[in-house]
Amino acid sequence: MIKTFIPVIICFCMAILFSIQSLGTSQSMYVNMYPNLPAPIADEKLLITSAGQAAESSVLLSIAENLNLEADYRPRALSTDLYDYNSVVIMLGFSINGLSQTERSYREELSRITALVAEARATELPIILVNISGKYRNNTQTWKLFEQIAPSADYFIGLKNMKKEAAYVNLIRKHSIPVTLVNKLEDLQTPFNSVFR
C-alpha cells in the first residue's frame, strides 16, 4: 500500500528540497551600502531604457513621474538616441516575451545595451542601473546583461533578497560603485530622487 505513495512522496520531498534551496539563495546578506546618494550625480532630462525588455521596467517611469522628473521611457532606445539626454537609467530584467515583441534576438539586445553604455561613457553621461526583479529573474541572460552594464554604472539600486545577491554585490564592489538596496518598491523613490536632487 505504501509502495503506491512512493512517487508522491518523491515529488513532495523534491519540491521541499527545491524550496529550501530557493529560500537559501534569496536571503539578504550584509552589505555596506548607502541609504541614498549624499549628493546628486546626474541631471535631467533622463532616458529610462530597459535591458532585457521586461514589462515591469515601466515602473521606473511611473516613479519618475511621481518625482516630477523630466524623463522619457524608451525601452528600445539606441546609442544614437542619447544626444537629447543628460543621464541614462537602465532597468535590468530579461524577458523572453518582452524581447519577442521587439523582434530582436537576445544577442541583438546585448549589442544594443553594449553600444548604449559605450556611447554614454563616451559622452560622459551618468548611468544608473536599477534591478527590481532580482527575486524573480534568476537567469543567465539577466546576469550577462548585468555584467555588461555594471562596470560602467555610476550607481546601482536594487531590491533586497534577490537571487545571487552576493554575486551581484561583489561585482559592484569590484568596480567601486555605490549601492542602495531597498526593502520594497515604494522605497525606491528616495535613492532614485537622490540621484538628481
Partner: protein
C-alpha cells in the same frame, strides 16, 4: 488479440504525443496572448490600474493552464502506453519522468524559466489524487477534470507573491505580474486573490476526488449486493424447481406400483373369464394396450433420454388434443410440410414443451381474440417448429431473462420456459424468440434431423 492490443496502445501513444506536442504549440499559436499580457502589464503600471492587472492575470492563467493541461495530459497517456496499466507505481514514476523531461525541454525551448518546484508540487498532488480515481471506463474523463482543477490551483499558486521566495512562479510573465502588483498594491491584491483562488480550486479538486472515490465504493457495494441477491434468487429457484421435479418424479414413480397391480389383476380376470365369455377378449386387449401405453408414458416422464421416432403430425395432434381452447376466441392454424421425416423425441416431454409455449400464448390473450400459427417445415439440417401469436408480446428488456428459472411477469412459478429450453437442448435442438411488443411473438424451435439426432444421442450416452 496481441495485435489488437499493440494497435490500441500505438493509437493511444500517438494521441499522447499529439497532445504533448499541442501543449508545445500553444505559446506559438497563441503568441498574441503573450503580447496582450505584456501590453496590459505595462498599461496597468502606467495607468496605476490594479483592475486591469487583475484582468491580465486571468489571461495569464488561461494561457498557461491550456499549455500545461495538454503537456500533463499527453504525458499521462504516454506513461499509460509505456506501462500498459494505470494502477501501478511504474505508471506514476513514468508519468513523473516523462513530465519533467517534457518540462525541461519546454524551458529550454521557450526560455520562460519555469521553476520545477511548482511542477513537482503539482505532479505530487495529481498522482496522489489519481490513486483514488476508479480505474474504469471513464478514468481519463475524471482524470482530466482533476488535472484541470489542480493545474488551475497551481497557476494561481504561481501568482502568490508570498510564495516566490520558495521558488513558486519565477517564470517570465508571472514575475512581471507580481512586480507590477507590488508596485500598485504592495502585493496585497495578488496575495489575497491568488491565495483564495488557489485554496478554492485545490479544495474543489480534493472534494471532487473524494466524492468520486466514495461514489465508486458505493457502486461497488451495490453491485456486490445485486450479485448476491441474484445468486440467492437463482439458488432459491433452483431449489424449488428441483423439489418440484423430485416430487413429480416420485409421484409418477409411485403411480407405477398400482399400475402394475392393475395390470396383474386385469390379466387374472382375463384368465378367469376367458373360458366363460369370449366377447370380453377385445376389451381386455384394449385395457392391456392402454396400460402398456401408460407405462411407456411414465417411463418417458421419468427418463429424459427415453426417445422414440414420431411423425410431426402425430406429435402436433397429440399436443393439440390436450389443449383447451374450445371455449376461447382463439384461432389456431397449423401448417405442416408434407413428407417431413419422423422426429426422434421424448414424446411426453417434447409435447409438454410445445404445450407450454402454446399455453403461454393462450394466457397472453387474456380471454380476448387471438391467433396462433404453428408452422412446421424442413430446413437445411433440421426441422423448424415456428409458433407465432399476435398477443401483447414480450418487452425487449425481458427477452434475455425469459429462459431463466423463476423469471415471470405473471406471478407464476416461472419454470415453464426454462423447462422448454432444457427439453429442446436435451434433444440437441435450440430455441430462439423474437417479439414486437404489442404486436406479436415468435418462437422458433430447431430440431436436428432424425439421423443426426440419433447420432448425437448415442454420443451423449457414450460420454455419460
Amino acid at each position: 488479440m496481441v495485435m489488437v492490443n499493440i494497435k490500441k496502445y500505438l493509437i493511444f501513444g500517438c494521441i499522447g504525443f499529439l497532445l504533448t506536442a499541442y501543449g508545445f504549440l500553444v505559446p506559438i499559436l497563441y503568441d498574441n496572448w503573450s503580447v496582450y499580457i505584456n501590453d496590459h502589464i505595462y498599461n496597468s503600471i502606467i495607468q496605476k490600474d490594479s483592475g486591469l492587472l487583475l484582468i491580465t492575470t486571468f489571461v495569464y492563467i488561461a494561457k498557461y493552464l491550456m499549455t500545461f493541461f495538454f503537456i500533463y495530459f499527453g504525458s499521462a497517456i504516454l506513461a499509460n502506453t509505456l506501462t500498459k496499466r494505470i494502477n501501478t507505481v511504474m505508471f506514476s514514476i513514468s508519468l513523473i519522468v516523462l513530465l519533467f523531461l517534457t518540462l525541461i525541454f519546454y524551458n529550454l525551448l521557450f526560455q520562460e524559466h519555469f521553476s520545477y518546484t511548482g511542477h513537482l508540487f503539482a505532479a505530487g498532488i495529481i498522482i496522489l489524487l489519481q490513486l483514488y480515481i476508479p480505474k474504469q471506463k471513464h478514468y481519463y474523463i475524471i482524470f482530466s477534470i482533476i488535472l484541470f482543477l489542480v493545474l488551475l490551483a497551481i497557476q494561481w499558486l504561481y501568482l502568490i507573491p508570498a510564495f516566490t521566495v520558495l521558488g513558486f512562479g519565477t517564470n517570465d510573465l508571472a514575475a512581471s505580474i507580481k512586480m507590477a502588483d507590488q508596485f500598485l498594491t504592495g502585493n496585497s491584491l495578488l496575495n489575497t486573490i491568488a491565495t483564495i483562488f488557489f485554496i478554492v480550486f485545490l479544495t474543489i479538486a480534493i472534494i471532487f476526488t473524494i466524492l468520486i472515490h466514495l461514489l465508486n465504493r458505493q457502486l461497488d457495494t451495490l453491485k456486490k449486493y445485486h450479485l448476491q441477491g441474484k445468486e440467492l434468487k437463482e439458488t432459491r429457484t433452483a431449489l424449488i424447481e428441483s423439489k418440484v421435479y423430485e416430487e413429480i418424479s416420485m409421484l409418477v414413480h409411485d403411480i407405477k406400483t398400482p399400475l402394475v397391480t392393475v395390470e396383474g389383476l386385469v390379466s387374472l380376470i382375463e384368465l378367469k373369464l376367458q373360458t366363460e365369455n369370449r366377447t370380453l377378449r377385445p376389451y381386455f386387449a384394449r385395457v392391456d394396450h392402454s396400460l402398456k401405453k401408460m407405462n411407456d408414458m411414465i417411463s418417458e416422464i421419468l427418463y429424459e433420454n427415453n426417445k422414440q421416432a414420431l411423425t410431426v403430425n402425430k406429435l402436433i395432434e397429440y399436443v393439440t388434443s390436450h389443449l383447451n381452447i374450445d371455449n376461447q376466441l382463439i384461432k389456431l392454424r397449423i401448417d405442416i410440410d408434407e413428407n417431413l421425416p419422423p422426429i426422434h423425441v421424448n414424446k411426453i416431454r417434447f409435447s409438454r414443451a410445445i404445450s407450454n409455449i402454446l399455453e403461454n400464448a393462450i394466457s397472453s390473450f387474456a380471454e380476448k381474440k387471438g391467433f396462433i400459427h404453428i408452422n412446421v417445415k424442413k430446413i437445411d439440417k433440421g426441422i423448424l417448429f415456428c409458433i407465432k401469436d399476435n398477443g401483447p408480446g414480450i418487452q425487449a428488456e425481458h427477452l434475455k431473462d425469459i429462459w431463466q428459472a423463476g423469471f415471470s411477469t405473471k406471478n407464476s412459478s416461472g419454470i415453464g420456459l426454462s423447462f422448454v429450453k432444457r427439453v429442446i437442448e436435451n434433444h440437441h435442438g435450440h430455441i430462439t424468440v423474437t417479439s414486437v411488443p404489442g404486436k406479436q411473438t415468435q418462437m422458433n424451435i430447431t430440431l436436428p434431423l432424425q439421423e443426426a439426432g440419433e447420432r448425437m444421442n448415442e454420443y451423449h450416452h457414450i460420454n455419460r
